[in-house]
């Protein structure tokens, strides 16, 4: 009973939040509703006995990724509205509607297999976190490490792409050198602006 109520409530909330994200023109509203939607998604995970996944969802998605988006939005001129001129708005809804319809049809029809044996069976006696940990560090160890490396690479890539010039290291210079360096940089920038 509790489950059904929770499911209906959270599904309504999630759909509302994500619809706001998709349909609004204001970037700030979109960002906020996306963050709210993420939290409600984690509620589903808790309902599905995937405790660890739900916690990870809140921490990583809502905490890290949304924060990243919020910082990223600082760089853009978010107040100027990008003209959302779509040539065929009906086409968009038509396409998506068709996809939804077909997938729903697929999922309603009783094609779901009857005799599926579990690859990684759940052991309810441990609790979900312990179970996940057991599997993650034994069977999926290599993908785990590779994912870690991938995140490292992404981080370095992000720094290189968006960072400023990094030839000099401020921590090795004295105060006068730092001042002189900043003045020189300002002059170069002014010179560039005059040329433009």
């Amino acid at each position: 009973m509790f489950e059904i109520v929770a499911f209906c409530l959270f599904s309504v909330l999630t759909i509302t939040m994500f619809s706001i994200t998709v349909l609004t023109n204001n970037a700030l509203y979109a960002l906020s509703s996306l963050a709210a939607g993420m939290i409600f998604i984690s509620a589903f995970f808790f309902l599905l006995n995937a405790d660890f996944l739900g916690a990870v969802q809140i921490v990583v998605y809502t905490g890290a990724i949304m924060a990243l988006y919020a910082f990223g939005m600082m760089f853009f001129d978010s107040l100027s509205e990008v003209k959302e001129k779509v040539k065929n708005p009906r086409l968009v809804f038509l396409l998506s509607g068709m996809v939804a319809l077909i997938v729903v049809v697929i999922f309603i029809s009783p094609i779901l297999g009857e005799n599926i044996s579990a690859n990684l069976p759940v052991n309810p006696s441990y609790g979900n976190t312990v179970d996940v940990g057991l599997v993650l560090f034994t069977k999926y160890l290599v993908p785990f490490e590779l994912a870690a490396i991938m995140l490292l690479v992404a981080m370095i890539g992000g720094i290189v792409l968006a960072g400023k010039k990094m030839e000099v290291s401020y921590s090795d210079m004295t105060e006068e050198e730092i001042d002189a360096h900043i003045q020189a940089e300002n002059e170069i920038e002014n010179a560039k602006k005059d040329v433009k």
């Binding site: 499911f7 994500f18 995937a50 939804a100 759940v122 599997v135 792409l161």
Partner: protein, 99 residues
């Protein structure tokens, strides 16, 4: 709730994300819609994982989250560079092929 209900929910969320991807011309909003799609898939995977007593779905969901995180980092970095160069993040302006 039955598995079907969760799967239908997952589908609906996916289609909402799809609408956003197709409709949006602001690249940042496009990224948001992509995040919605990924989350929808996660819900579906977790649901199947619970109803068949299998942990594979949750594992898959973990790695999807990891990938999404790194994708966001790189995507935002590239978008910032493009914005610094051209001053616009409209999708129609990015096209360089003449067609």
């Amino acid at each position: 709730m039955t598995l079907n209900a969760y799967l239908i929910l997952s589908t609906l969320l996916f289609c909402i994300g799809l609408i956003g991807v197709l409709k949006r011309k602001n690249v940042l909003m496009l990224f948001f819609s992509t995040e919605i799609m990924l989350n929808a898939v996660n819900v579906g995977l977790a649901a199947i994982s619970k109803f068949h007593g299998d942990l594979s779905g949750q594992m898959f969901a973990f790695f999807i989250i990891a990938v999404a995180a790194s994708e966001v980092a790189i995507g935002l970095g590239l978008l910032i560079l493009w914005y610094k160069r051209t001053g616009s993040i409209n999708l129609d302006d990015i096209a360089r092929m003449k067609g």
